[in-house]
Every structure is written in structure tokens, then in C-alpha cells.
Symmetry: D2
Subunit: 343 residues, 4 copies
């Protein structure tokens, strides 16, 4: 839909119409009291969309308004309003199924991983999370145990039977990660690392895709489209906070994203309350809020001894409090018509 | 706390110390491995705070870090951790009391106001809201019925017994508003209209103060301080969304503000889910989320026939659905340990 | 322009068409490959615009895309591309005329005001600025000298012949402000104080309208429209920075606003580099940048002794450096084809 | 610097002091009228900073205020206030040297690349830019010519002698990119792709690092630190716009970043006005503004026939206007005391 300027001349209008025709679309002209609007209708494919005709900035053009959403496979329409339900080692996510995913921010030691895995298993979570590769703002910060961390996650999986969620930061690490990960996490900073998304798409492994810190929901869905387009339909979207001017917490958790993403897409929507809050006291209230808002799951950090954590200790739930926390989240999820998912 | 530059000279450090002393504070110097930090301790009053000494920008000074919060009466410390509970015509707000406040965006007609008042009364709300004076972005938009609107609100109050919440935009309208309002609402655009805040402070009438669209929580609390300072302790804080880059809804409802404001302040925290969402389908999920996050109340728009509303119809709940909505909100509030407040 | 959902039924489409007709507009239906788009064309007045028909949220409607800008008198089209040039006591602003406006943030004392006025007069500025009423985030901060401040400004005007720019915060202070102000400044926090804007509109006095800290350019132009609509055509728009997540300076000066406002509107565009920067070292570079970007003027703070300033001292230029500063700004303005305006 | 809560007990204060000591730092306690502040001074290394002690969230702790900047090699202090001047094939960047870098957004064809290269060479630019690998929000959009694109850039380099700036998106493409790139560009979306940054650091090749769309300046400098830490000192920082709520242009070009980055770091600062603007009419004014603000260079898009461009045509300068544009930019750079850099 091309909105012409009030001052556009007949020649400028015809130049636009001509360009639309050369791009293989059918122009459709509406003359209003003050401006002319030209629709570009018809055979325009997703990959030759109105935007790509390059009309923006053309003489006489005020602006180009895209009518169709830029994503296709991720859209609600693609599944005709039916919701995607993933099955991760017997744990369902999406539709009426709510998945609580918990574990330490970072794999630090055998004791820490196994103790945490036992605690969250007992509390009835659906999956275990833990980072072996950690993206850190500072090159001087602890970067994760790498392959040794993956080995410890494999041990936790064997011991508890819980599916594993862990992050992939570098496409060159795909092989070892595939050996242990039931779900590959894409961190917020990699949401638009397009080669990485395509590799995960080709792997076919379920993915948990975190929203970038300043990504719009449309951009998040376009990032999901990169994975889906490679033939991998198993994508969970994850809201984890966006940057704003507010400084009294780390980032702003955008819970309106939950109902909006569920309107726009058939994919499950997970919320990560730990990273947005940056401190433990906010994680409980925001977890209940996320579940009540209709999230399909929560991914949260827990640590047996947060004071000793090498990364993000202050935001980790205490292992001792975790069973009560999980019970409260379950009640909030029920309020939104959800059933807790565990095996 | 004044952080000096690494390159600061002894003269520059002494000039800072001298200036702190002249301002009546006690300087306290800490020499680190790379930088010197100077504390300004002691008799510095709120109204002669470190910032006002004017050290920022002084030669050799890297930055000034305020240690104390700039508000006093609004702070948690002021009431030693005890929470303020307001009593508005017998309805309590704050502490364990949750107040649902509902009504039309704008007073449009006698039929609309009374029909809506009956519906929300039957559903057990605590108060009735409705705008007689409407701040509108466009000078060409409907600006409210003014005094005629106030008269209709008085009639609704008489009929239902519900306390009235209505907005004051102009200090010159204070008299007529005081005749009907049990709670004076300050809109987001007026959060920093300081003369208006001071007038409301002097009036002593309870106030519902909406957070500005780009206000930080500290700025919201400073605005509350303007009211409190005039001797009016009856202030409710209201989160109603902040501007971000996201375009798929109107503004971003910041629910993390709920637990954070409750850490920072003793004042009740209300959430307005209608204006942030801008559309009805998001209001239900975000209301449950707000209540589950621990809000002390919700202020929401409802209309007997939103299609005919003169203002913000698409975000108004349907009167027919309102009783179910109120019951769901009550369950979510209970999850957070709250009791619904009604007479 | 109403975009229907892909799933919209024929009934839903016809309901929209019906509603457009009842609002007095002519519906115009375009059926695309996937969605239907309905234009509402014709007699729709500004004050009964498509938005106000209330179609957003109607069943089957995906979204409503406004085609016309919501402001009329402020738009470039209103003056057919010709630029407004104001004449303030013989100093022109707009078109090819560049106005440097300088003075202290706040009127503090007779000595300070007169000394600063002499300095900026000698450097060839177009107008003198100074605040008698100061909006302060904290109720405990210095709020300005009020009427005594206005009296000192009048003395500075008499002495130097420079027109005076000063802020009005409260409509109840209009009378005394009109006695001295050649230009009434509306602060960023009052950009959407609609009763105040309307009063200034009715006064007919030239206005300098600052952009709110999170206002879009469309909102700024709508605020200007409130003044213009009352018959006062003398409005200058002022960019002074917007809130972002960046914390290494106070707010983000949006210089792209300069060319964009000049595309959208015929009104002069002024830049205030002092408040965005918050510190002196940034004011010089940003002033040159603003002038080079094509601003019609700069409003800047200068102080004979910033260390002693009661408000915003660190961002004030030093009086001793001011003549060099003004000369550099003039060179940058010339680069953009502008001539310095002074009497 | 650890700020304790007003309510902190003596035990809590001692627990913090104990933890600082166990981390190898020296605690330094200051008791104020209302709160206690504890400094952690001394041997704390960059990689064992106060933040990593994990005091945030500890009982009784209000907040942790880092005193030192988290980057070291990128800081002004590291070079004692001296500025880095890069030499790229004889073209200097930084200090008094201003580099204009121009070329098409994307390499599309031999004709397009060579024609553009001739135009910008004749106008006296310092380097030629062009993308062979293009990060695109949509997986359906043109992703660049890849290795064929690199080959065409090599031909342009041979023909004009201009150094080549081109983007690396995937560490697995480093080898072929190193064969032609004199400067490796890191796109905004990859600013925190830490494995990619480390690879570029190890390669030793000069890098142009674009600021992420919501990155703070501190985060940009930490990303630079990832490259510098691997022994590669040749880094240029590039401001290209940040996301805000404003919708009348693509993103907000943050020119205040120019003087602030030059205060914080010794590295050259380049501005990309094309991507922020998204349309040609803003590129000229913002280029002059960037140069007048003191930027060390500009990277800009130019196309012989933007209407036919496969990517971002509307923001490309017209080849026919380029010589005039370059001359105007040179005048603006001279205003800031810079000399155009060309061989």
C-alpha cells in the first residue's frame, strides 16, 4: 500500500504504478480527497514483497505501508489458528501444557549441577537448564566450562531423566551440543545471528529462541522464521526483557508479549523472569504474573548456593525455596487454564 | 559520593573537598588503586543534596553517584516498612486489600454512565471511574463533557454508593472536581505538572497518580512526593505503560514496576491494563498478571457498547463479560494473598 | 485504511463498510490475494477521522492505518511548502534566518542576569533566555524566583534590547509572564499540558514548544496544533532530547528530528543542546552538529560562574568562552545556508 | 562501592566485609547519617571485579556501584589521553584525520560495483565499502552474493586502489574475507557475537565495529575490548542509530555518542548516517552534523541507480550528487578541525 504525498504529480503517480507492474504485481489506485493511495496486489510473493520493490523514497511517495506480515511459517494463519504443541522427551509444551524449566545459569561443578538437578526434579519441573557456553559482556568474565559443562549436563540427564536445555553460541560447537541438548537455546544477543539460526534449523533439534534486548515481536518471529524455513518446526519463543530507560531493575519484562505473540503465532511462548529482574525478590511475583498471563512455560534460574555462583547468583532462586515456588507457579498456570507438564 | 578521574590532580581533589565543606557536609576521602572517591557525609539535607552542590562537571570529577534516594515521604523507610492502607468511603486499598476500579473511559451520556455503574456495582468493584475532562492528543478530538460530566458522576455515586475516581487536568477546575471526586486522578501526561500536584496535595483528597509514559520509578515517586509534601498522605501510584520501540501494542505495561515500587515505597500500587494494551483482548490476561504480581488494585475501562464509545472503545471490556472478568481477577489477587475490597 | 484479518468473514467486512458509511465517509474495498483492505475516503473531517470511527478492535479487523497526518495547521501542506519566518522584536527565525538564544538556566540574582545578558548581547545573540519559574523533579529543589525573576528579566531587556524567552508553567501565571516575555517557553514536561497550550494560543504571544522527553514528532506537532488552533501562528518547535536506555549522558539529542520536522512542518526548529548533554563538554560539539543539520536556531545555557549556579551549572557554557562559541556556531549555520539573526 | 540499606544490621554489614576480604580486596567502611557505604579497594583485578564478588542481592545490600569502567584496553586512560590513528593502506583515520568511506550497501553486479567505485574514487573518498554477506531480517530477502561479491570487491580495489571495507557475519567465512578486506565490518546485530569478535581479534585485521541497535556505549566498548584483548589494536567504533519509540524515521542517530566515545576511548569514531535515516533526504544533513560533531569519519551508501538497488536503495545517495556531498562533508569536518584523508 503506497501512500502518495499531497503534492504528488500525475507523472509521479504513474511512475509508481509502472514500477509495481514491472515487479509483477497489480496496482490498484484510490484517489482520496487529499491523497492518492496505490495498492500493490496479487502475485507479489513473500520474497518479492512491496518493500523490496524499492518505492520508499521514490519522488512523490510519502510512505509504504506493508499490509501482510513479513513472516509466514511462524504466523497463526499458517496453522489456521491451531496451536503448536512440542513434545520434548515426553514433556509437552504449548496449547494447554505448561512447562517449568529450571536449573543453574551456568554449569560450574559436578556437585552444583547434580544437586540442582535433584532439587528441580523433585519439584516436578519439565526440563533442566544449564549453560556450558556463556555469552558474557566482558571478555574478562567466566565464559563457561564448555565441553566439560556439556558432559556434566549429560550426567544430570542420565540421573534425573530430565530433558536438557542448553545454549549454543557458535555454529562450530553444534556437534557436541547436539549430543546432550534436547532443546538448543539461542540467547538474546544471538537472536539475529542468522547463520546460527539456519544451522539450528537444519539440525532439526527443538529450539528455544530468546527475544533480543531491543527486538520487536515481528523481528522475533522473523528470527523464528529462519529456523522454521530450514524444515525445523520445533521452535519456542522466549520473552526475557527489553531495554528501556528504567534503571531500577535490569531490563523491562514485557508480559504483554505473551498474549500478543499468541495472537500472532502458533508457537509456544516461554517467559524468562530471572534475567529481566536481575534479583531474586522480583522472580517470584513475575513468574506468577507470566503464568497468569497465559505463558506456555517459564525458564528460571535456581542455585543450591547463589552466594557462591560464578554468574548471576543474585537472580537465582534458592534451592530450598524451589518446591514452594513451583507449587505457586502451578496454581497461577491453572488460573490461565494450563496443566503442568511433567513425565 | 564523588568519583574522581584517574587523571585528577591533588589540587582538583582538594577543590572538591573544599566545596563539600563549604556546603556544610563532611568530606570523606578513599584512595583506591586507580581512582580517588570522596564521600560527602552528614548534615547534607534533602534540599541541599550532593547533586545540588554542583560538583558534576567540576575539573577532575568523573561522576557524582547519589547514595540516598531523592524522595523521603514516599520511601519505605519513612514508614519503617509498614504499608499504607487507604480508606476511600469504606473501601480499603493497600496492604492485603485489593481494589478493582472500573467504569467508562469517558462520561458520554446519562444512560451510558448509569448502565455501566450498575454493571460494575453488581460485579462487586470497589470504586467507579469515569472521565469528565479528557486529555486528548488531538485538539480536534472529543475533550469530555466537563461539568456536565461531573454532574452525571455524582448521580452514579448517589445511585450505587460507589466512590468516584475522576481526572483533574487543570488546577482551575479543582473546586467542581472536589465536589464529586473521592479520588482525584492525575493523568500520565500531567505526572510532572508540578503546580497541579501541589494543589492536589493542599486539597487533601486521595490521589491516583499515573506514571508518565517515559517516567522512571524514581520520577514517579518524586511526583508523589510533591503531593505528600503538602500534607496529603493519600496517594496511590499507578503503572499504565511506558513507551518502547515495540509497535504491536500501544505501550509496554511494566509489571516489574509492581514489586519494585512495593520495595521502594509504602504507597499502594494500582495497574491500568486498558491504556497500555489499547485493545480488549489483552486486558484480561494482563489484569490477571497484574493481580498475580501483587498489585494493590486494577483500574480498568468497561463500556455497555464499546462500538459506540466516543473514546478508546476498542480497549473497553464488554459490560456483559464484566462479572466473569471480576471473578477471575479476584482469584488472581487471592493467589498473591489479597482480599477483594468492597463495602 | 482498514486492513481486515485473513480470516475475516463477508459479514465482518460488510459490518465495517456499514460503519464507515454511517460515519459519513465513502468505503472503498480492495480484495487482495490474502486480505481485504477497505479505504474510508472523502468527507471525513479531521475531527471525525477514521480512528474515531472506532473500527480498531471490531471483529475481523486486523488494524487501522491512518493515511492522513493528524495535524493540519502545523503541516507543510498547510503553507504549501513555504516556511514560517517569525519576527521577534526584529529578530527573524526560520527560513534562512538562524537565531542563537542564550542566557542562564535560571534567574538567580540581579548581578548574574545582567552580567550574562551583557556577555551574550556582545556575542551577537538574537534573544536572551532565563527561567523565573522552574519545573524541578524534586519538590525540595530551588523552584525559581517567580515574579522577582520576571522583574530582573525586564531589567535585562531594557538594558540590552534583547527579546526575552522565559517559561510559563502554570496558566494562572500568564498575566505577569506576558508583561516581560517576547517568547513564552513551554517546557518538555508541559508539552501535553493541553489547557496551558490553549491559553498560550489565545494569548497570541510567540511560543517555543519543547518536545516531551518521550514525545514522538507527531505528538510534538499535535501539541503545536493546540496553540495554532487558537489563532496563534507564532510557534517554534524545540528538540531537547529523548529518553533512551543510554546512561552515559542525560538524554539522547535527536538531531534527525531537525530535517524530519522541516519535512513535516513549516514551523521553525530550534535545538537545545544543554539539557540533553547535562555537561558542558558536549554542548559545543552538539551545537555545531545542530546548526550543520539545518536547525533554525539554538537555545543554550550560559553562566558567568557555573560553579555557583543554583540549577544545572555543569551544563552551562562559561561566559568567557561564549564569544568563541557563538562564532563557531555561526560558521556551522552558514554551512547549512543560514544567516545569523540579530538586530 | 557497596551501598547498604538503611535497615542493614551490623551482622549484614560484617558479612559483606567478610566477603570482600575473602575475594582478596580491602574493605573500607564509611558510616553516613543514614546509610553505610563499603568500598572494596585495592588488588581487585578487572577479572575479579566487585560485581563478580556477587554482593548484589546479599541481605542488607541496597546496591553495588561499580567505580571503575569495565573495559581497560579501550579506555582513554590506557593510552594516557593520546588518540589512536589507524593507517589503512595509507589512509589515516583518527586524531585529526577524517575518513569518508562510501560504496553500495550490497555488491549486486560487476557494473554496479565498478561504476560506484569510480564515482567515489573521483570524489576523493578514503575507502570503498560494499557488502558481500548481508544480514537480513527476513530469510526470504536477498542475502548477498557471497564469495562472488568478494571477488568483485577485489576487482574494484585493483582498479581504484581504494582499501575495502566489507562485513563478516560468520566466523567460518573469515578466510575468504581476509583475502580482500582491508577493514572487516562487524554489523550491529553481531556486536555481541563474542566468538566472531575474538576471531577478528586473532586475525589482526582492522575492524569497524558497529554499535548494536540497543547497545550502550559501555557495551560497545566492551565489545571492542573482545577484539583488542586478542592483540588487535586496530578498531574503529561506529555509531549507526539506536532504537527508540520514534517512528518517523528508521532509528535514532545518536550523535552525542561521538563526543562521549571520544571522552571514554582513544579509538576512532565513525558515523553511519544511511542506516539510521532509511531515506536519502536525511543523509546529507546528518552527515554534516556528524562531521561537525567531531566524528573521525563517515561511512555512507551510494548507488548509481538506487531505484534498482536490491537492498536499501531509498537511503543510498545518488552517484551524480556524490561529489557535491563529499565537498560539503569536507567543509563540515574542517569546522571540527579535521583534514580529509585520502592517498
Amino acid at each position: 500500500m503506497i501512500v502518495m504525498k499531497e503534492t504528488a504529480t500525475e507523472e509521479e503517480i504513474e511512475a509508481v504504478i509502472d514500477k509495481i507492474e514491472r515487479a509483477g504485481a497489480v496496482p490498484h489506485r484510490s484517489r482520496g480527497a487529499r491523497v492518492t493511495v496505490i495498492g500493490a496486489i496479487g502475485d507479489v510473493e513473500q520474497d518479492a514483497s512491496v518493500e523490496s520493490i524499492g518505492l520508499e523514497g521514490q519522488p512523490g511517495v510519502d510512505r509504504v505501508v506493508p499490509i501482510l506480515k513479513p513472516y509466514k511459517l511462524a504466523s497463526s494463519q499458517f496453522r489456521h489458528g491451531e496451536r503448536t504443541v512440542l513434545d520434548i522427551g515426553g514433556r509437552k509444551v504449548g496449547g494447554e501444557h505448561f512447562a517449568l524449566i529450571a536449573g543453574p545459569c551456568t554449569v560450574e561443578s559436578r556437585e552444583q549441577v547434580l544437586a540442582t538437578a535433584d532439587v528441580v526434579k523433585d519439584a516436578g519441573v519439565a526440563m533442566f537448564r544449564g549453560g556450558a557456553y556463556k555469552p558474557r559482556t566482558s571478555p574478562y568474565a567466566f565464559q563457561g566450562l564448555g565441553q566439560e559443562g556439556l558432559r556434566l549436563l549429560a550426567e544430570a540427564k542420565e540421573r534425573t531423566g530430565l530433558p536438557i536445555v542448553t545454549e549454543l553460541m557458535d555454529a562450530r560447537d553444534l556437534e557436541p551440543v547436539l549430543e546432550v541438548a534436547d532443546v538448543i537455546q539461542v540467547g538474546a544477543r544471538n537472536m539475529q545471528n542468522f547463520p546460527l539460526l539456519a544451522e539450528i534449523g537444519r539440525s532439526g533439534r527443538p529450539a528455544l529462541l530468546k527475544r533480543g534486548l531491543s527486538a520487536t515481536l515481528d523481528e522475533l518471529l522473523m528470527a523464528a522464521e529462519y529456523i522454521l524455513k530450514e524444515g525445523n518446526p520445533n521452535v519456542m519463543l522466549c520473552e526475557r526483557g527489553i531495554k528501556t530507560f528504567e534503571t531500577s531493575y535490569r531490563v523491562t519484562l514485557d508480559l504483554q508479549a505473551v498474549p500478543v505473540l499468541k495472537e500472532l503465532s502458533h508457537l509456544p511462548v516461554i517467559v524468562d523472569p530471572s534475567h529481566a529482574a536481575g534479583r531474586r525478590s522480583l522472580v517470584g511475583p513475575m513468574s506468577l504474573a507470566a503464568a497468569a498471563a497465559g505463558a506456555d512455560g517459564i525458564i528460571v534460574e535456581v542455585h543450591p548456593n547463589p552466594d557462591e555462583a560464578l554468574c548471576d547468583g543474585p537472580q537465582a532462586l534458592l534451592a530450598d525455596d524451589f518446591a514452594d515456588y513451583a507449587a505457586a507457579v502451578e496454581r497461577a498456570a491453572m488460573l490461565a487454564g494450563k496443566v503442568f507438564s511433567n513425565a
